[in-house]
Amino acid sequence: MWDVEVQKMIQLVKEAQKGNDHAFLKLFQEYENDIYRTAFVYVKNQEDALDVVQETAYRAFKSIKNLKEPKYLKTWMIKIAISCSIDVVRKQKKVVELKPEVEKVLSSKEEKDLSLSMTLDDLIELLNENEKKVIILRYYFDFTIKEVSETLNIPLGTAKTILYRGLNKLRKELNGDEMYER
C-alpha cells in the first residue's frame, strides 16, 4: 500500500515537473495545511500566512523541475515555506506586536484551554526564526534532529544547540513533557 502511494506521488511529481499544474496542486494540497500553520507561527496573522502559502506554491511550481529526488518533496516544500515566511517577517520587521488575528485564534478556545493557548503564544512570540525552524521541523513534522540539520544545512551540533535553547524558552510552559533531545 505504501509503495503504491509512493509510486503515485512520484508519478505526480514527474507530471508536475513537466508543467502539469493539476498534478502539482494535488501534491501541494497534501501539505498546504502544514505550510499554512508553519507560516502562521512566523508571520502571526492569517493574511500574511495566506500570502506565504501563495508564494510557496508559486516558488515551488516554478522550481519543481529542479527537484531531483521526489521522496524529498515534503522536506523541499517545507523549506520553501520557511524561507517565504522569513522573507515576509524580514520585509515587515516593524510589525512586532501581537496582531488581532493572533488574539482571535488564541481566544477562540474556551477558558479552560488557556494554558494551551499560552503555549501557542509562546511558540509564536518567544522563539526566534532559527528556533522556530528547528522546533517545528523536529516536533511538528517529526524530523529527526539529523534530518533537521540536513534540511537546514547546519551542523548537527548547531541544530541541537538551537533546539535546546528553544526548549529552554518554552520549558516554563511545558510541564512534564519530554524536554531533552537524545
Binding site: 496542486l25 502559502v53 508564494e55 506554491a57
Partner: protein, 312 residues
C-alpha cells in the same frame, strides 16, 4: 513534546480560502513560465535563468518590450573600453529566482554554456582535473555560500579544464560512468572590448562548418537544419566578427522589441575542428548573440550573405 507542539499548532484555524491561494500562486507561476517559453527561455535554453539573477538590473523577465525601432543603439551606451558584463549577483531578499546550473571556481561563477562537445571528442578535450563540485547552492543561498570553492547547483561532479581553452573562461564537467560532459563558462564580471575577444575565447577561427535553424524549428525542438558548407563565407564571417562591437543584451533587446520570430531571428551552430559546437543567434539587423548577456553588432555585407544562406 511532539504531541504538545502538534496539538498547539493544529489549533491554528485553516481559512477556507487556503487552497484558492495555492491555486493563485500556481497560476501566476504557470503564466510566467509560459511567457518565459514564448520569449527568452528557449532563446538561450541553458542560460536563461541567469537573467533572473539580477545581472546589473537587467530584467527581461518583464518582457516589457518596446516596439521595434530601426535606429541604432546610441553610441553613449558603448564605453570606449568596451562593455562590462556585470558579475552574477543573487536576487534581493523577497525576489524569486530560478536557479541555473552553475559552480564557483577561484571566485568566478561558471554557468552552463550552450556550447556542446561532440561525445567522440570529449576525451581529447578533457584537461586537468581541478576538483569536484559540491551540492547545495539554490536560489535561496546567500552570497557567502557562493564564496565557497566548487559550491554548485549541479550536485557533485568532477570539473576539468578544457584543452586549448582559457581556464578563466571555460571549464567542463565530466562524469566518467555516464560519459556525460557539459561545458561551463564564465562570461560575467568581465569587460569585452571587441568581437575579437569572443572569437579568441571560442576559438572560432577553427570553424569547420555550420548549420542553421529557424526560430520556429528551434522553438519546437525540430531537428531541421540547413547545412552551410561555404568555408570561405564562414571564414569571412568570423573575420568580420573580430571587428564587431559588443553591447549588453539589455540595451540591444530594449531597442529590438519582439524580434523572436522566423523573419528576424535564426540559430547558427558552428562546428569547430576540435569537436565543439558553438551556438550563436543572429538577428536580421546585424546583431549576433552568444550566451545570455552579450551581443556583437556587425555592419558588414558578409552578415547579409550568411543570413541569406540560412534557412527561412
Amino acid at each position: 513534546m511532539s504531541d504538545k507542539i502538534k496539538q498547539e499548532m493544529n489549533r491554528i484555524q485553516i481559512p477556507n480560502e487556503l487552497h484558492e491561494r495555492a491555486i493563485i500562486g500556481v497560476k501566476k507561476a504557470k503564466s510566467e513560465i509560459t511567457k518565459r517559453k514564448n520569449y527568452l527561455y528557449k532563446v538561450v535554453p541553458v542560460a536563461v535563468s541567469v537573467v533572473f539573477l539580477s545581472i546589473g538590473g537587467y530584467s527581461v523577465w518583464n518582457a516589457n518590450h518596446q516596439s521595434y525601432e530601426s535606429q541604432k543603439i546610441e553610441s553613449s551606451l558603448l564605453d570606449k573600453s568596451g562593455v562590462t558584463i556585470p558579475a552574477i549577483e543573487l536576487p534581493k531578499s523577497g525576489e524569486t529566482a530560478k536557479m541555473m546550473p552553475l559552480f564557483v571556481y577561484k571566485g568566478r561563477v561558471y554557468t552552463q554554456s550552450s556550447t556542446k562537445i561532440d561525445p567522440s571528442n570529449v576525451t581529447n578535450l578533457l584537461g586537468e582535473k581541478l576538483g569536484k563540485t559540491k551540492a547545495g547552492l539554490d536560489e535561496w543561498s546567500n552570497q557567502d555560500e557562493y564564496a565557497v570553492e566548487f559550491a554548485s547547483s549541479i550536485g557533485e561532479v568532477d570539473v576539468y579544464s578544457v584543452k586549448g581553452y582559457q581556464k578563466e573562461f571555460r571549464l567542463m564537467t565530466y562524469d566518467v560512468s555516464s560519459g556525460n560532459a557539459e561545458v561551463y563558462e564564465c562570461l560575467n564580471g568581465v569587460t569585452i572590448s571587441n568581437g575579437s575577444e569572443i572569437v579568441e575565447k571560442l576559438k572560432l577561427t577553427n570553424t569547420l562548418k555550420a548549420k542553421s535553424r529557424t526560430y520556429d524549428d528551434w522553438n519546437n525542438s525540430t531537428e531541421k537544419y540547413t547545412e552551410i558548407n561555404d568555408k570561405e563565407l564562414l571564414n569571412s564571417f568570423v573575420s568580420a566578427l573580430n571587428e564587431a562591437i559588443p553591447y549588453l543584451r539589455e540595451d540591444v533587446e530594449a531597442k529590438l522589441g519582439n524580434f523572436q520570430n522566423n523573419e528576424q531571428y535564426k540559430e547558427l551552430t558552428i562546428s569547430l575542428t576540435d569537436g565543439t559546437y558553438v551556438t550563436l543567434w543572429l538577428v536580421k539587423e546585424g546583431y549576433i548573440s552568444y550566451g545570455n548577456t552579450l551581443y556583437l553588432k556587425m555592419d558588414h555585407e558578409v552578415f547579409t550573405k550568411l543570413w541569406n544562406q540560412m534557412k527561412q
